[in-house]
């Protein structure tokens, strides 16, 4: 093993790692080409901050050249950097060089298209098995894990690629999954499977035979169920496993009689043997194997499809980048360009990424990996915290320099730091992250100006929605009386009262986010939050209704919607009157004030792209004004901006799938993709987001919610497992995918498998992993806070999440309640402000903020800025005032393409120099004719024509000068004219313009043709006069093909 030049830096939360990397980069640009630097970060925003600070730092220290060159360095997310590497080597990789990233929304569709054969082939079997495993039963919120098996196939493929597994690896994974899954089940029934069925069938029949005349309410569902089961079995259908499980739980009331009670009991007895049913084993085994088979086949098809088209998803970018790094020739070329690598947030690397970083480390002079094992929270996104931790330790063990630890917080107040050390210490130590290396050593913050301790506990009372209403009220009150919550303003470098923008509320689920956001908006508090439902907001609906009607005038529903949106009375029934009218279409159009504008827009729809049309509608003055009158405008504009973005994404997804982009397609895409509403980036809004989303960020005040959430191991979905000891130098070794199907649909408890899975060794590991990840996530949450942490738990129920900190001592961290006001973490206690929060069951009317809008201004009809001579028309007619026959018609044999002939002759006139040797002139003219493919004309004939023209013009202006192809520009009024004059004669009295026109017509048509060009020449004349303040007194049309020179002039003034 060669010693790699890697140094690792463990940087605790807020300990200034970016400053550290920026400093390193400033040193690096002194000793190497700045372009050689590679810096990977976790998000685009982090990359942006890093490059901005690095370059600003260089500019500030006068290293402008290095700063400029840093633009050529590679700063970005792991994906973008890998994508760049793959793009540069696409042809070496034998792929299409397009190297396009598939938009996140497009993956599912693309997969379906690419993998259709594999899906089609395995669908019959998987559908059949999925049916008996209850996959098609209606889903309830509780069993979200169960998904369409196609999604599982996709996830298997994703995991396979993220863990470097090929078809053989999937086969191995199938074996391991089957083996470990079957081990969860009790030994199979020794007899025949049919016997178990028979016993159950008989029990069902028996129970149905002893129904009392009047069935109790308790008994009804059970009997109903039995009936259905019996009918199905009479039809010869197989009983599904969820049904087996349900039958093991049937019951009735006492008053239904002993007979039925006994009957149902024997049903239960017979049904509860499902875990040992041989067919359960074979069904599950069959399902696992088939789905892995399908995945293996689909994997090849999907990869091939993308490779043909040069498409990549995120994992492809990484996997292919690793291919580049592992290929000697490609790696060598890459090695010429990269010399120094920085990896930020190393703890969240996937095995594939670790392999990439390691391979890069072999290629470059030095690598720095910065991270914090305590903040590894992306297990669900293929990150492997155990492996990253092993890598950290491994590097530290082999490195010559000691591992650096950044342990001073520049972020949080002392109380927070102390609490974190006390609360998380034991759990982290148990995880192999000893306090000696991982506790904060202190903080650079001072306590000056803070009257209150950094902690508060807000107990939320009542039903869920009321809890959130109470929380929202608490937040509003906190910054309404900001003086009670003084915070330190980083920018102003002084303390000041709390404001809305200082607050972040962290949530565990998107549903919670929505609740918090809704509760806050209800109180008129601005929130910055990403949430579902973009297409259900009234402003987006308004724009899309207009869009639909423009795209499809038969969509009268859209018109009716518009009629509603445009009435001032929210309950107006004008729309209904219009819908009811005899001429519905006309009436609806009349009821929609923008229908005329929309009709006009429809006329130009052929010139617009779908995204353009969205833009055009949003900024239609009446549309935007209508939306403005609804108040809270900034938030609405955020949504509309997202709609614009969606439209553009739609167009680019069409590009990658080769499909046309049409308005109808956009409408459809909006309905199927259900895009989200973006978060506002305004500084004066309360931020609401998930704990994961808070990674890398900080706020003066952080509210922690979801403290009652229980850690849940991921058991019945595909997960990557690793065998044996972890070797970070070979991160993809020994990896396999475990997939245990859940055959009981919504029957999630008391089926045997649930317990068995949880207590199995793999299940125990998964549970441990889950607990550890939850610990780290909580750490991330607490350490986001600069000045205050508010715990916001519900009053009822256990705070399961805090229990992950317990270790062997329950109640390690306890929140104060009642009169107590100390927060306890082990032996330490911390003062905290404790308040119960409750609101009454009244929904306050929401507060709407009106907006200031633009003044109505006169719309001016402005002509085009550029007056094009060729597009010039005038009402003043031109007349021919002089005709000169310069010579004969240009002779030609055959029929030349007139367009090319004209171009060629023009080119000869432009390039010919009468003062040159004839041979040279001739050669050039020949070459021009050749280039234009004109073989029907002799070069000499054209040159003769040139000479004749020259002679004539020299005769006209003996002392004048001729300029060929000379440019002219002028500002005429507030318009611009520009052009190139074929031939400009500059003489004592002014200018004359001569324009070559390759007109082949007969003599009687010359005049008409010549005067048609009058306006164009007239404009040149105008421009010349403006430009040179000299008159332009003559306009000529020269027709070289017919040998004529015609002078034209504007009629009213006679000859100019």
């Amino acid at each position: 093993m060669t010693a790699l030049k890697i140094n690792t830096v463990v940087a605790s939360a807020g300990a200034g790692k970016t400053t550290r990397i920026v400093g390193d980069i400033a040193r690096e640009v002194e000793i190497r080409q700045p372009e050689e630097i590679v810096a990977t970060t976790f998000t685009v925003k982090a990359a942006d901050e890093l490059i901005e600070r690095s370059r600003a730092n260089l500019f500030k220290s006068g290293k402008a050249e290095q700063a400029a060159r840093l633009l050529g360095a590679r700063f970005g997310t792991v994906n973008s950097i890998c994508g760049q590497i793959v793009g540069e080597h696409a042809i070496d990789l034998g792929r299409s060089p397009r190297a396009e990233v598939i938009p996140e929304d497009g993956v599912a569709r693309l997969f379906a298209i690419a993998a259709d054969t594999a899906i089609e082939m395995h669908a019959p079997q998987l559908n059949a098995l999925a049916e008996v495993m209850g996959f098609f039963e209606p889903k309830r919120a509780g069993d979200a894990e169960r998904s369409d098996w196609r999604t599982t196939v996709r996830r298997l493929i994703e995991l396979a690629r993220a863990n470097g597994l090929d078809a053989a690896g999937l086969k191995r994974s199938a074996d391991r999954s089957v083996e470990s899954f079957l081990a969860l089940l009790p030994p199979p029934f020794a007899g025949r499977a049919e016997d178990l069925d028979k016993v159950l069938n008989e029990a069902v029949a028996g129970a149905l035979g002893c129904l009392p005349p009047e069935l109790s309410k308790t008994g009804q569902p059970s009997i109903e169920h039995l009936r259905r089961i019996r009918a199905a079995s009479q039809r010869g259908e197989r009983l599904s496993w969820p049904d087996w499980a349900r039958l093991s739980k049937v019951a009735c009331a006492k008053k239904d009689g002993q007979a039925l009670t006994d009957g149902l009991e024997s049903v239960c007895r017979a049904a509860s043997r499902h875990p040992e049913h041989p067919r359960l084993r074979s069904d599950c085994e069959g399902f696992i194997r088939t789905i892995f088979d399908c995945a293996a086949q689909a994997l090849d098809a999907y990869q091939g499809y993308k490779s043909d088209r040069g498409l990549m998803d995120f994992i492809d970018q990484e996997a292919l980048a690793l291919d580049v790094l592992r290929d000697p020739a490609m790696a060598e070329r890459l090695g010429e360009r990269i010399g120094r690598v920085f990896v930020d947030e190393f703890q969240d690397s996937s095995p594939l990424q670790i392999a990439i970083f390691t391979a890069m480390a072999e290629l470059v002079d030095a690598s720095t990996w910065v991270g914090d094992p305590k903040q590894a929270i992306y297990g669900f996104r293929n990150a492997d915290s155990a492996l990253t931790q092993a890598a950290f330790d491994g590097v530290a063990a082999t490195a010559t320099e000691p591992q650096e630890v950044l342990a001073t917080s520049y972020r949080s107040r002392k109380g927070i730091i102390d609490f974190v050390n006390a609360a998380f210490g034991p759990a982290f130590t148990a995880m192999g992250l000893p306090a000696a290396d991982h506790a904060f050593s202190g903080t650079a913050r001072t306590e000056d100006g803070f009257a209150h301790a950094p902690f508060a506990v807000w107990w939320l009372d009542g039903k869920v929605d009321l809890q959130y209403a109470a929380l929202a009220a608490g937040i509003r009150d906190a910054f309404a009386d900001g003086a009670d919550w003084m915070i330190f303003d980083k920018e102003a470098k002084a303390n000041r009262p709390l404001r809305a923008g200082d607050v972040a509320v962290l949530c565990r689920s998107h549903a919670d986010i929505l609740r918090v956001a809704t509760a806050l908006s209800q109180l008129g508090v601005k929130v910055a939050v990403e949430r579902d439902g973009l297409s259900r907001t009234p402003h987006v609906e308004l724009v899309m209704a207009a869009f639909r009607w423009v795209a499809d005038p038969t969509d009268r529903l859209a018109l009716a919607e518009l009629a509603r949106f445009f009435s001032d009375d929210p309950k107006s029934d004008l729309w209904l009157q219009a819908v009811s009218a005899e001429d519905q279409d006309a009436a609806l159009q009349a009821a929609v004030p923008i229908s005329t504008a929309l009709n006009a827009l429809r006329e130009s729809v052929l010139s617009l792209t779908p995204a353009d049309l969205v833009d055009a509608l949003i900024v239609l003055p009446d549309v935007i004004r209508r939306i403005e009158t609804w108040g809270d405008v900034a938030a609405r504009l955020d949504d509309l901006e997202a709609l614009r973005g969606f439209a553009r994404t739609y167009e680019s997804s069409c590009a990658s799938s080769g499909a046309p982009a049409t308005p109808s397609g956009l409408v459809l895409a909006l309905a199927t993709d259900e895009p989200r509403r973006p978060k506002s980036l305004q500084s004066n809004a309360v931020k609401v987001m998930t704990y994961h989303g808070a990674k890398g960020l900080e706020w003066p005040l952080v509210v922690l919610t979801g403290l009652n959430r229980e850690p849940k191991p991921r058991l019945f979905e595909p997960v990557a497992e690793a065998d044996g000891a972890l070797d970070w130098r070979d991160p993809l070794a020994g990896r396999w995918i475990r997939y245990w199907p859940w055959p009981y649909a919504s029957q999630s408890k008391d089926v045997g498998l649930d317990e068995a899975a949880l207590t199995s060794p793999l299940g125990q590991q998964a549970a441990l992993r889950a607990r550890q990840e939850e610990t780290r996530l909580l750490y991330v949450g607490v350490t986001r806070a600069r000045d205050y942490v508010i715990f916001a738990p519900p009053t009822k129920g256990e705070l399961k999440w805090l229990q992950v900190l317990d270790g062997d001592q329950p109640g390690h961290v306890a929140l104060p309640s009642g009169a107590a006001n100390t927060l306890v973490a082990g032996a330490d206690s911390f003062p905290a402000r404790v308040s119960p929060m409750a609101v009454d069951d009244v929904v306050a009317p929401s507060v709407v903020r009106p907006a200031f809008v633009r003044l109505t201004r006169q719309i001016r009809d402005r002509p085009a800025l550029h007056r094009r001579p060729s597009g010039e028309t005038t009402t003043d007619p031109y007349v021919v005032v002089e005709r000169v026959q310069l010579g004969p018609r240009l002779p030609f044999v055959g029929t030349p393409d007139m367009l090319s002939l004209g171009e060629a002759v023009h080119a000869i006139f432009a390039a010919d120099r009468a003062d040159q040797e004839l041979a040279a002139r001739h050669q050039r003219a020949e070459a021009i004719l050749e280039r234009w493919g004109v073989h029907q004309v002799k070069a000499q004939d054209v040159l003769d024509a040139c000479d004749r023209l020259n002679a004539h013009l020299t005769g006209l202006w003996p002392t004048g000068r001729l300029h060929r192809e000379t440019p002219v520009f002028a500002r005429l009024g507030d318009q611009l004219v520009s052009g190139r004059i074929d031939l400009l004669a500059e003489h004592d009295a002014g200018f004359a313009v001569i324009d070559h026109k390759s007109f082949p017509g007969s003599r009687d048509t010359w005049d008409a043709r010549a005067v048609g060009y009058g306006p164009q020449l007239g404009l040149y004349a105008e421009a010349l006069e403006a430009a040179a303040t000299r008159p332009c007194d003559a306009l000529y049309i020269h027709m070289p093909i017919v040998g004529a020179l015609l002078r034209v002039a504007r009629q009213p003034g006679g000859a100019v």
Binding site: E35, D48, E52, R55, A64, A67, L71, G72, A90, P97, R109, A112, I113, T117, N127, F136, P138, A231, A232, R235, D308, R536, T537, P538, D552, T554, R556, A560, K571, V579, V605, L606, T609, A616, V619, R626, G631, R636, D638, E641, L643, A647, G658, G665, P678, L681, P850, A851, V853, R857, I859, R860, S900, A907, A910, A927, P967, F969, R971, A1027
Partner: protein
């Protein structure tokens, strides 16, 4: 002639032209292309220009020809996968090498020699920019006299790209005077000048916040446009002159609409996009020609504002296609028959009627039922040419001599495609290749012809180096990153060395970076009075990143903080604002509440009138029973949802398909044996699939279709078995029945399957394709099986009592009906018999209709609706009627809070 030459000065530059006068002659501002143009004209080197697509096609042909004469050329695997994109990428490499001085021959470096071998093959490559440069350069070597007096360089000479630097050297050798542009005069006094001084020297002097230098931050591009438009509108018309907007993004459509709404001139930068409506005709025409048939593509074509076939014919075919998407469905055939009849009528008295009719029909058929080709095997080159030619013809005809630039672009693209197909010389053409070629021909220059700059003093440039002289007021629009990229060269150090030896010098990345940095600073340096930099935080929902110039300015702006930072959203909060020397005034918008949900509506007399003479159907009853408003709007007032919304979704298509198959295999009379039925289903499955449910053939429905292939035959076989077991005979399928009842109730229905029992008479079976049996079971159990009740009631208008009915759930293969019915297999204990259900339904209908006749309509999905229910409703509306309703947006029942 005197030229100003700048690398970014092709296209719009500022000032408009050299000199300070109202115009200029013998002088121009040119970029690299413009300079080559001038030289070509003077040297007599002009020649025809080909579309880039034709160049790529030619290069692809060269690469293909070089395959056999090379040993494992490096590009072979990529070329095999995606010949077009590979040719395009390699052509770009080749062009760069040629521009840098490569002669096109072998130099002893394997990858470059692979390209050299391609270079030597036929067909000839139409000249591109580097070829033209090479030709000009060759001519200049003889030092011809040029009619150019001087060239003033915008960029410092050492920052020019090597090819341009060489060209300038050559031109200089011909006696042309080369000058450096005089640098803008450094002023001092305000923030802008302080910033300029900082950019020049790196020395910071604290900014004062005098407004001469401002960054405007907006949450969204929309708000950014609002802020800029307000700022411009706050100045006078005269102030527009000397104001330059720098818009690197290249498209100012959004901003221009905001400007025009205030009477300001439009900037008129339009991006070339292949997605403009007219251009889609080309990809759509092809999309409709691949198998499996893409009904939506054809529908899109037919519904274009100017469809490729007569609008009326297009409309008719579109309607048929939306209803039964496929080729050869009954609706489709009917539509054609009607069209033919119309034609016959129209040309009845025409002397050459036959020819006229045939001409139209051929054309319509070509567009709508041309051949379908396999995507992987490809379509014959000739077929592709024909499609392209047809599109070209459409464009020319639609244009009708108006010279609409966009339509001419379509015609040009179509003809470029034909040419590229010719040059490429490949036959057949796989779908991927065709799509790539189409994209290429469309990508070239399709800007919005209606989006132009309008008159006034305001100017717009695309590139910071396109500003070559002083600007009074600079507005940097869309001041966001990442800015111009420094490209990485594909060549290794060894290859670069070999190239250098061969006289081909590539530009090092550091020079590119310096030039880019220079251009950013240049724009700021050229500003005289003030500079406003506008950055949206979100652009299209994505967070933006900071501009490289912002990195550079960071040391000064960071320090100045809010003094030079202004948030556009403030416009929403106040009536007056001071921004960069101007006062922006706003007015408050009166608050209007957005439309609200409302349960109770008053119907106008015109609506009531439409109740007369109605015929109800099973579907309209279902709607009525759930929500009177929905029935009123969709059934009585016939509010249309538009064509696209009509295309059935996959589940419905599966249902339609199963129905039609049943219709074909269950013939009247005794029921065939199950196996027999299964065979028959298999025999008709595919043809019916293509005829009425073509969208299911799209690859993304492979899973559903695979399921249907096994389920539909099994379902109908099982149905046959059940019918036989029950001794039932088929009376007919898809039977239309009509019946009159008391109170003027008239009912019309199409019955899926009517059967007869030798002793018990008629029975009705309704076929359903559903994911779960639950809904229909519950309906029966609760006595809400309205469809069955309706069908039973009209099955035999002569009968005294309704016929018994059952649902056959195809997906689940279950025949469920009320206990004791002859058609029931799985019996459900019903709370209300079908006959009672029917009676109650009639009563319910009467109550709702009477309510409507009195002028009231109820949206029952809304909470307060139940207060207004008529007394004695036999059938109470369901729990959540809005869940599957298409009118929720109109009713405003689901509305996201802001």
């Amino acid at each position: 002639m005197d030229l100003i030459f700048g690398l970014a000065c092709d296209g719009r530059a500022y000032p408009d032209f050299p000199g300070l006068g109202a115009g200029v002659v013998h002088a121009a501002v040119v970029g690299p292309t413009g300079l080559i143009d001038v030289l070509e004209v003077q040297l007599g080197l002009t020649g025809p220009r080909g579309a880039e697509a034709v160049r790529i096609a030619a290069y692809a042909a060269k690469l293909r020809a070089a395959l056999p004469v090379s040993v494992n050329p490096f590009y072979a695997p990529s070329f095999a996968r995606d010949p077009w994109a590979t040719a395009k990428a390699l052509l770009a490499w080749r062009d760069e090498l040629i521009a840098a001085g490569w002669g096109g021959g072998e130099i002893g470096s394997p990858r470059i020699d692979d390209l050299a071998r391609a270079e030597a093959q036929a067909p000839p490559l139409p000249p591109g920019a580097p070829d033209r440069l090479r030709a000009v350069s060759a001519d200049l070597a003889d030092r011809p006299s040029l009619s150019i007096r001087s060239i003033t360089l915008v960029e410092p000479r050492d920052l020019l790209t090597p090819p341009n630097r060489r060209l300038i050297d050559q031109v200089e050798a011909c006696g042309v005077e080369i000058q450096a542009a005089s640098p803008p005069v450094a002023d001092s006094g305000n923030d802008l000048h302080r910033v300029q001084a900082f950019l020049r020297s790196g020395e910071t002097e604290p900014l004062q916040g005098d407004g001469a230098f401002m960054t405007v931050e907006a949450d969204t591009a929309l708000m950014a446009a609002e802020a800029l438009a307000e700022w411009l509108a706050a100045g006078s018309e005269e102030d527009l002159a000397g104001t330059v907007v720098l818009s690197a993004d290249g498209d100012t459509a959004l901003l221009d609409r905001a400007l025009q709404a205030r009477g300001l001139p439009a900037l008129g930068q339009s991006a070339a996009s292949p997605w403009r409506g007219a251009l889609q005709v080309l990809p759509l025409a092809f999309a409709a020609s691949w198998a499996p048939f893409n009904a939506k593509a054809l529908l899109d074509l037919l519904l274009l504002p100017r469809p490729p076939i007569e609008r009326r014919a297009a409309g008719k075919l579109a309607r048929a296609l939306a209803r039964e998407p496929g080729m050869g469905s009954p609706s489709w055939t009917r539509a054609w028959a009607e069209l033919e009849a119309n034609l016959a009528e129209r040309f009845a008295d025409h002397p050459s009627a036959e020819a006229e009719i045939a001409k139209r029909q051929t054309r319509w058929r070509e567009w709508t039922t041309g051949g379908l080709y396999s995507r992987t095997q490809g379509m014959p080159a000739d077929a592709a040419r024909r499609i392209a030619a047809r599109v070209g013809q459409w464009a020319v005809e639609t244009d009708a001599g108006q010279s609409d630039p966009l339509l001419l672009t379509v015609a040009g693209a179509a003809s470029a495609l034909v040419k590229a197909i010719d040059v490429l010389g490949q036959d057949p053409l796989p779908a991927l290749l065709v799509e790539r070629m189409i994209e290429q021909v469309l990508a070239e220059g399709a800007q919005n012809p209606e989006h132009i700059a309008t008159a006034g003093g305001l100017r717009c440039v695309k590139h910071p180096a396109a500003i070559w002289g002083p600007v009074d007021r600079l507005v940097w629009w869309d001041f966001k990153g990442p800015g111009e990229r420094v490209p990485t060269t594909p060549w290794s150090l060894a290859e670069q060395a070999a190239l250098a030896t061969a006289g081909c010098a590539l530009e090092p990345a550091s020079s590119t970076a310096s030039r880019i940095s220079w251009s950013y600073a240049n724009a700021v340096h050229q500003a005289k009075d003030r500079a406003v930099l506008i950055r949206p935080a979100l652009a299209g929902g994505e967070e933006t990143v900071s501009h490289p110039l912002a990195h550079q300015l960071h040391p000064v702006t960071q320090e100045a903080g809010l003094k030079v930072r202004w948030s556009a959203e403030r416009l929403l909060d106040d009536a007056a604002h001071d921004l960069s020397g101007r006062r922006l005034t706003r007015e408050i918008a009166a608050i209007v509440t957005p439309p609200q949900a409302r349960a109770h509506w008053t119907l106008p007399a015109t609506a009531i009138a439409k109740l007369a003479g109605r015929k109800e159907s099973a579907t309209s009853f279902e709607r009525l029973a759930d929500c009177q408003m929905r029935w009123m709007l969709l059934d009585v007032l016939r509010l249309s949802r538009g064509r696209f919304a009509e295309i059935p979704g996959p589940d419905q298509l599966l249902g339609n398909l199963a129905h039609e198959i049943a219709n074909q295999v269950l013939r009247p009379g005794p029921v065939a044996d199950a196996e027999d039925v299964r065979r028959q289903v298999d025999a008709v499955f595919d043809s019916l699939l293509g005829a009425i449910a073509a969208p299911l053939q799209q690859p993304e429905f492979a899973g559903e279709l695979a399921a249907a292939r096994t389920r539909v035959p099994a379902a109908l076989a099982e149905l046959a078995r059940l019918l036989r077991a029950k001794g039932l005979e088929v009376v007919g399928t898809e039977l239309d029945r009509e019946a009159e009842f008391a109170d003027g109730l008239s009912v019309l229905g199409r019955l899926d399957l009517v059967v007869r029992h030798p002793t018990e008479g008629l029975g009705v079976i309704d076929l359903k394709w559903t994911k779960s049996a639950k809904r229909r079971r519950t309906e029966l159990a609760e006595g809400r099986a309205l469809q069955l009740a309706t069908y039973g009631a009209i099955a035999d208008p002569g009968a005294a009592t309704p016929a018994p009915g059952a649902y056959y759930l195809l997906n689940q293969r279950r025949l469920i009906g009320p206990v004791g019915a002859i058609v029931s297999d799985e019996e459900v204990e019903a709370a209300r018999s079908l006959a009672d259900t029917w009676n109650d339904l009639m009563g319910t209908w009467r109550l709702w209709r009477d309510l409507a006749a009195k002028g009231a309509a109820l949206g029952t999905g809304l909470p307060e609706a139940s207060d207004h229910f008529p007394e004695g409703l036999g059938i109470i509306p369901g729990q959540e009627p809005c869940q599957y309703c298409e009118l929720t947006s109109l009713c405003r029942v689901t509305q996201e809070a802001n």
